[in-house]
Each structure stands twice: as C-alpha cells, then as structure tokens.
Subunit: 148 residues, 2 copies
DNA sequence: TATATTTAGTTCGACATCAAACTAAATAGG
DNA sequence: CCTATTTAGTTTGATGTCGAACTAAATATA
C-alpha cells in the first residue's frame, strides 16, 4: 500500500469518526424517540422546499424506499409532516411540512447551539470552514461515481 | 442563525454525506454477510495490535458494550478472531486475531483499490490529503468534548 | 387496444445498534 | 473479613436500515 493510499484511508477514517461523534451529539439532543434521520428529512424539506414525493427524498438521502416509508410514517404519526395523494399520479404521494414540523426543525437546530458554543474556544471555525470546498468536491465525485 | 453557524452545519453535513457514500462503497465490497463494522474491528486490531479486551475496543469505537458483544461474537463464529479468558481478571476477556482474520483485513483493503482507481482521475488526492490535519483537529476536539 | 415493462410505494425478514436490566467478578470501606 | 460498590461482559426489547419480494398504477410496445 502506497503512502498516498494510506493517507486516503486516513482521510475517510477521520471523516467516519467525526461523523459518528457529531451524530452522537446530535442524537443526544433529539427528543423522545426521534432519530437524527427524522430530523434530517424535516431539515431537507425546510431547506429545499416541501411538496415533494417520497421517492425524491429517498434519492436525496440515498436510502432504500422501504427505509423512507418507515421514516415518513413516523414523522406523519408525530404530526410533523402531512402525506397527501399525488394530484396526477395514482402511484405517488406528496409530502408537506406541518407547522409542528417546521417548529421542530427550528427547535432542534437551536438545541445544538450550546454544544457548538461549548467547543467554540477550542475550535478554529475559520479553518474548519476553509475545508468545505474540498469536501464538496469529494462529495460530488463520490456522488457521480455512484450514479454512473 | 449566523453565517458562520450556517457554514458549520454545512461542514458537518458534507462530512455526513461523504461518510455515507464511502461507507456504501465499502459495504458493497464486503463478502457474504459481513458488515463494515466487522471489518473496522479487525482493522483496528491489525493496526493497533491485538490481545486487547472487548471493553478497550468498545471505548475505541464509542459503541455500547452490547454492540461489541454482538460484533465480536460474529467475528469469532467466522473464525476471524479468537476470544480467550483474561489471565488475571475473571470478568474480562482478551481478543486475538487469527490468521484468517489478518488475511481478511488485507483482502478487504485490497478490494477497495478498484474503487479508488475508478475515481482517481477526477480526484485530486493531494488536495484531499491536505485537509487531514484540520479533520484531525476537529476529531480530537469533539473527542475531548465527549469525555469531559 | 392488449400485453409487457417500468415505476412508486409497501411489506417482510434479517441484522446492527442502542439503552437498560442483569450476572459475575473485583475492589473499596467499614 | 463482610458488605457495598464498581467493573466487564451478556441479554433483552425496540428501532433504523437494508435487500428482496410484492402491489398497484403508469407507460411503452406490439
């Protein structure tokens, strides 16, 4: 294994650990029985707009359709989204945020601010932010590779 | 939400997506019924040395003891590790790699080379590698924050 | 138009993971 | 020493996720 290959593995390893640590912090701030995945879907709908089909969300998150069926049904039972039949396609459905869903998303994000501030002194956010373009590049390449 | 906060969320979001895409590639290269988590434990033992207790591995991966019990029992049933009683502590055990376990780890890593080469043209590894120190810094800060 | 194929979503069985309760061994405090 | 507490690991029930089989609707093709 070459030095470059070793570094590449280290890169993905660091990514994996950071993801796990960050997800754990996030998860510990989720209320009663809600999972990060539920928040993620709500967040997606807030940021990119609701009124989309389950399949579109499935594609965005790169999960199976069965997983999304489950996630959406939990959100729906909680009253955080509303699932309506599709106007023109009898196979399909359309997902809408409810007011409760929007409120939850907002509150969940705010609940993270203490954690961010806790590590604020140690973290040099400017440097962290500088890595984003490169991460975006990597993400896009991996994403293209997947769909080819 | 400030611009910096927005960027911070974007950073962790990119990390999450990259992790998922990379994990999926990795998982699709795992043979018959083995999971990335199984490989990760083997890899950990190869890199940092075997002959350690389950609890130590549990701490390293930041999973619950129950999860590690399950992971190790799968690896043991597959003959990839050997679990022996602890010499001096009757509550504890010691985990050793078998030859099969070492071979599997090696083969699993090699199985990734095609995927790496596939995206090699598009990816500027030098730039990717340059982000590692910053990722390490972030990882360490999150890790310290967790244990405090 | 009638049939075949594709597409959207659900269901099912398997498994990783978690939190919490539990067992057994080691250690601490009296 | 004896009891209480801590520690290492297992077990149990719940849940998120997956892959594969399935249903129903839409579209393509003949």
């Amino acid at each position: 294994m070459s030095e470059t290959e070793r570094k590449v593995f280290q890169f993905f390893n660091e990514i994996g650990i950071i993801n796990q640590l960050a997800t754990d912090v996030f998860q510990s701030n989720m209320p009663d029985g809600l999972h990060v995945s539920h928040f993620s879907v709500l967040n997606h709908l807030v940021r990119l707009g609701d009124g989309v089909t389950p399949l579109k969300i499935t594609k965005a998150f790169q999960v199976t359709k069965g997983t999304m069926t489950n996630t959406l049904s939990v959100l729906s039972k909680r009253g955080l989204i509303r699932i309506a039949p599709h106007e023109t396609d009898g196979r399909s459905k359309v997902v809408y945020l409810t007011d409760e869903g929007r409120a939850f998303q907002k509150q969940a994000i705010e609940s993270l601010f203490p954690a961010i501030q806790r590590i604020d002194e140690k973290m040099d956010w400017a440097r962290v932010i500088k890595t984003i373009p490169e991460l975006e590049r990597v993400r896009k390449i991996l994403d293209e590779d997947r769909s080819e």
